[in-house]
């Protein structure tokens, strides 16, 4: 499986993503600086977390209009797989590849902690190695992860099984207390209609080996390998 990781000024989770992809695919990903618009042919493009362009104007707004992102959109339009983690998710919503927007956390605080996620749909290229309704623990670290979409969009996401992950409590219930940032319907991650694009606020790349405190993020990457091979 060939992969690429795009790095923008002030991306800061790119190293974790590169290490995770190399460990899991056995091949080093192509590392693409944002000014380089030549992305080689790959199976997966990853937009890592961070604070691209200093979060100026809106989180992800500048990166979404960056020339390299046009190439990411072309890759997605051809059916190529794209993941956006944290700031990557914000960039994907700003491009319109995924619906909705990520707003300031309801508490107005930067939140860095482990959260429980429920796998809502395991029939996707990003979740097939998990069981449906499986509860996994993945860290979040963001100031603007409060997922917003209007009622019609939310209804469509729910109906079409496009909510990939939801914030839940220890019993697997999407309660208000289990919602770290005020996201509508406790949404932590969504996929595109064609199921080739995923955006999520939590960081699966930070939990792929025991030394990191757990391996709940491994299934995410294994799913992508299953889908591509």
């Amino acid at each position: 499986m060939k992969t690429a990781v795009i790095i923008f000024p002030a991306s800061n989770c790119d190293r974790d993503m590169i290490i995770a992809l190399e460990k899991i695919t056995g091949h080093k990903p192509h590392i693409i600086w944002h000014q380089n618009t030549n992305i080689p042919e790959v199976d997966l493009i990853a937009l890592p977390g961070g604070f691209s362009f200093g979060d100026y104007l809106r989180c992800g707004a500048m990166a979404a209009r960056s020339p390299v992102t046009k190439k990411v959109i072309e890759h997605a339009d051809r059916g190529g797989k794209v993941i956006g983690i944290c700031n990557g998710f914000q960039i994907l919503t700003e491009t319109g590849l995924l619906p909705g927007a990520l707003m300031r956390n309801e508490s107005l605080k930067f939140i860095c902690k482990d959260v429980n996620l429920r796998v809502e749909n395991n029939d996707t290229p990003f979740t097939n190695a998990y069981k449906k309704d499986q509860i996994i623990t993945i860290p979040i670290a963001h100031h603007d992860g409060n997922y917003f979409a209007d009622e019609d969009t939310l209804a469509a996401l729910e109906e079409e099984g496009r909510v990939a992950f939801r914030y839940v409590d220890d019993k697997g219930q999407p309660t208000k207390d289990a919602n770290p940032n005020g996201s509508r319907n406790n949404i932590a991650g969504i996929i595109s209609r064609r199921k080739n694009i995923l955006g999520m606020m939590p960081h699966p790349e930070r939990l792929i080996e025991d030394a990191q405190g757990g391996t709940d993020g491994l299934g995410f990457f294994k799913s992508i390998i299953n889908a591509i091979n």
């Binding site: 707004a61 909705g100 927007a101 300031r104 309801e106 107005l108 409060n146 917003f148 979409a149």
Partner: protein, 79 residues
Amino acid sequence: MKARVHITLKNGVLDPQGKAIQHALSALGFDGVKDVRQGKYIELDLTETDKNKAMTSVEAMCKKLLSNTVIENYAIDIE
């Protein structure tokens, strides 16, 4: 010619920062503030001299970059 763009959150979109400002105002003794909505103000200095053309151009800027129309409205003043 100058364009002034006000960007505000759409009705129905929660504004936690606005709420925090409202609480802070109330704590400072400023009673009677029913609601606070926070937005952005952007000033553009344009080379265009035709007002209509400037308006069309700034509208395109608002749609493409300055605002996120999923959550925000924009208002443009040109003079």
